[in-house]
Symmetry: C2
């Protein structure tokens, strides 16, 4: 290769790992360094974007690009950073005319704490579902590192709400429960002074909680702990982490008013639910609280704390009744949220998951309501699918899996994405696909749903 020339390596699959490149030269003895640029991309699409023109609000430092000088030849370099990619584009930015650069080797040492040898095949004759499952497993596989990362390209943190979905999928696939246990302990060992769990954990250079907490994420520790126990029977861990779990319920309870409805808030990020700024979170928060309180009552029962179980169920019933009384719009036949009585899919989903109703009709009616707020993230879609199944709509749930995750598969996804809008597959709320994470853990739902509910 001479100056300005480039080559694209397609590694054929999504990888997380460390790249090694070997170079030799042709022509005279190199009389100047070679200066090369490397661009690594999960989707080919990213390579068509000009990184210099990206000015979105996610830091451009996440763009996987390097500029390197090669001073002596032949040489073999192992890049010190970890990348998430399928495509590697190498461009010669500067070289002398006395010689040409030759790439002898481009390889990747892929890393994961999941082992594909542990993965039982998903039994189905349906080629589409088989493909969706394979992509979902790869997504989970590549996010399973020292912790369950949210995305191996960008963020790379351990988020509580995301952990829950990964742990569910893990139980149906790699069954690497030590990793789930490690993550539960990392959260429990990094609470704020008041005992509240952070929304996320940094692991480098040492374990440190993020300085933000969210209503739903803190609470979701409780069902994550219960799921872990139910999959493993590890009573010791359940017992050790029970105080931490209970504390989340107790602290969340302080956010309720006298009517038994969680107080709404206009503080950005007070409760996550979905990546949607126009979504009112009040009703969802109510449903999430109920969902988690049911799990708390179950844990109390398992641990023989009859008194505790009764207290949780008593509180649960009161708040469930409050939801029916204050959040259900009889006329519209849907649950509403916030002072403006917003109708959203999210509110219906969490009312079903929280056990307030098992009437799937609220989902239909919400969808048809004018100005109903829809769903944005695969994270929200996961809960939507679960709500459909819980409300007896298995066929519709499978349709969603085929339409939503199948839609990404049709776009050529090797792993499932952080964000996917079926109407605009390249949409990026960050101002460029170049910073998007195309292998994102909260999108691994099919590995859980297909194997648990749709095996032949």
């Amino acid at each position: 290769m001479g100056e300005g020339e480039s080559v694209l390596f397609d590694f054929q699959e999504h990888l997380v790992g460390y790249v090694t490149l070997s170079f030799s030269t042709e022509g005279s003895h190199p009389d100047a360094p070679a200066w090369i640029e490397l661009q690594l991309a999960e989707r080919k699409q990213e390579l068509s974007e000009d990184a210099d023109k990206y000015h979105g609000w996610v830091s451009k430092s996440w763009i996987q690009q390097e500029r390197i000088h090669l001073d002596t030849f032949p040489c073999r370099i192992r890049l010190p950073r970890r990348y998430a990619f399928r495509y590697l584009k190498l461009t010669v930015l500067g070289i002398s005319t006395k010689y040409r650069l030759k790439v002898e080797e481009a390889s990747c040492e892929a890393v994961s704490s999941a082992d594909d040898a542990d993965l039982k095949p998903y039994e189905t004759q349906d080629a589409e579902l088989l493909a969706i499952d394979r992509i979902a497993c790869r997504t989970l596989h590549d996010c399973m590192q020292d912790v369950f990362e949210d995305g191996p390209k960008r963020d790379r943190r351990l988020w509580l709400g995301d952990l829950r979905l990964q742990a569910l999928a893990n139980a149906e696939t790699y069954r690497q429960f030590d990793l789930v246990k490690r993550c539960l302990y990392l959260f429990a060992g990094s609470t704020f002074e008041n005992g509240r769990l952070s929304a996320a954990i940094f692991t480098e250079p040492e374990i440190e909680a993020d300085d933000t907490a969210m209503f739903d994420y803190s609470l979701l520790f409780v069902p994550t702990l219960l799921d872990y126990y139910e999959a493993t029977g590890d009573r010791e861990t359940l017992f050790e982490l029970w105080d931490t779990a209970k504390r989340q319920i107790a602290m969340a309870a302080e956010s309720f008013g006298e009517t038994g409805i969680v107080r709404d808030s206009d503080r950005l990020g007070w409760c996550f639910v979905d990546w949607n700024l126009s979504l009112n979170k009040q009703a969802s928060a109510q449903g999430i609280y109920l969902y988690c309180e049911k799990a708390a009552a179950r844990i109390a029962a398992i641990l023989g704390d009859i008194e505790g179980e009764r207290a949780f169920m008593q509180d649960y019933e009161a708040k469930r009744s409050a939801a029916l009384r204050y959040l259900y719009d009889e006329e519209k036949g849907v649950f509403i949220s916030g002072a403006d009585c917003q109708v959203s899919i999210a509110s219906q989903v969490w009312m079903i998951l929280g056990g307030v109703t098992n009437d799937a009709g609220i989902l239909d009616r919400a969808k048809e309501a004018p100005d109903a707020v829809g769903m944005v993230t695969p994270y929200m879609y996961h809960h939507y699918v679960q709500a459909l199944i819980d409300a007896g709509r298995k066929t519709q749930a499978l349709e969603i899996l085929r339409a939503y995750w199948g839609g990404m598969a049709k776009e050529g996804a090797d792993t499932f994405w952080e964000l996917y809008n079926p109407d605009d597959p390249n949409e990026s709320p960050y101002g460029g696909t170049i910073v998007l994470s195309y292998c994102h853990a909260w999108s691994c739902a099919p590995a859980y749903f297909l194997r648990k509910y749709f095996s032949e």
Copy 2:
């Protein structure tokens, strides 16, 4: 520092070495890498140029710039490449708004095979000369690495003609004769199959001769070997390398016509002399041959080879007479060169150094001649100063040292430059100062001339 901010470190002196940087952060836990750019410059001026806009013919890979991602904090990085610089500019290209980057340390482990403890002070009351000597010594010091490099920023090769000037300055300053010996052996051990010496040696990844040879550079091995012997008395090395030296005279002799004048050539770079494409090299080549043959005769005498000495002197006298007969223009009173009878300073300089004449008037007359070709490099100026001294013009030689090297000193030089045009100090034949070498060995002349001829 936040995104887009930069800081300039002035290390106060020219350094060659390895940079270490330490970073910490302020604010929240870093939730994204920091992406920084480093620009290293020998002169501040270089930093005002846009590297992206450089499209000259010297490879832009020589521009000292790096882009680095910092993933975890605090961190300390030692850059693996060696730089030649005084200024280090650090710019934050990308960072998250959740934290700010703090540079805790910026240091350089400077390297050289010269030791300032070996350097005796230059004795003078003249502040200007003292400054010129100090800058010249620093230039030599920073070029003395594993070999005598031509420039520690760019090229970094061991060139034969440059080695000769460095060895002369070394003998008056650091007296690191082992390095001279090493370089002589590197050349002698890397000849082409026909025994001819290459113009330059690469040392990385292993010793390899450049694939080009130049008439003058090959020949200049002979006086370099003689100078080394005269400074050290190392007769063993003189004896061991004498065959190689003789071979250069013998091969150069083949380039002469029947008249005893070296044949001219239009092959680019057949003979270096000066960095000047319009300069005809024929007369200079004749003078250089004579200069080197005198040195060969002297070595033969030292080694007791009376027969050899006589043969060299016989050939020398024949070619000296030929020069006087065919290259001297009686009318103009100057030596001419090539089919177009070109008048240049270079031709006069080498006729004096070659012992054809000691009439300094040819320099005056050449300067006044219309269309006379002038000098470009400090390398050529070195030989000009020597010719003035040899022809009894010491005062004028000192004026040149003050005007030419003193001119660079007045421009704020920390080390002397690869190229200097007193009429346009920022001129670059490469299309940008950003690739110029501002510490260049062939510019270290004052350390030799001042200490040898102008000590008090």
